[in-house]
Amino acid sequence: MTDYLELRVDKFIFKVIADRLYSEEGLWAMQEDRHVRIGISDYLQQRSGDVAFAEIKPEGTELTVGDEIAVIETIKVNISLTSPIAGKIIEVNPMMGTSPDVINRDPYGTGWLAMIDITGNEPSLMHLLEARAYYSKIKLEAEQEINKK
């Protein structure tokens, strides 16, 4: 069974799945042998709104940490997402072209963005946040925003 940390803020519930790492920006990374699957956290997808389009960099793209990996257009904003890890994109979720709203429906599952080969870049995961640390970060952020209202 998958464990989640649940953050309740106002009328919202944000889930942070416990089995992967997170960038400050809100992308998750889950290592699968020599590859790392990348996606968007529930917090980021809920904050961003319904996804209209998702353009992921094509397979074969070499990335360093901080390079743009995707541009997501939602009903609220256009966001440029940066890669949380270094490596080469070896697979892009085909649903991003046809049903990008899967990001909203299942951000930790079928809504993944890309698979990255990290061969030779193993240390690049070390700067990422554990689920608990990411949870604390978004909790603080959400509470500060609520207190502004």
């Binding site: 319904d50 209209a52 389009f53 009903i75 709203d101």
Partner: protein, 144 residues
Amino acid sequence: MTDVDQKRKVVIVPCSGIGKTYGSVSREAAYNVTEDLRPDNTRLIALSKLVLGEDEARSVVAGNPAITIDGCKLACATKMVQESGGIIAQDYAVLEVYRRYKQFKPLGIVKLNEGGVQLAQALANEIVRVVDELTTGKGEDSNG
């Protein structure tokens, strides 16, 4: 009541979301259809009237095929038509329509940008084809 009034009309129910771009697109498309493209065969029903349970609005919805246009995934227009006893001939979600017309990016609320106006027109043209199918039994080009 005139013959035209008595004729079976297609009810158009757009999103009531004020202050939302996609809601504005839904209403703009509904106005295009009911006021300009097919005024004789359609009737606009404000979602708020269904929410308030106004008898006439509920009666019209219950007695005619409906086309709903939702501005977000809450799908209030579709749900309220169903709750009012209406039969939905076609439901549209503006976001899904936008995915078909990526070149028309809607912005603005009180006043839609050019992309929003064009998206509303594209949606209106799609709706007209459904209206024509429902009222004449065949789809026609919106301009013809």
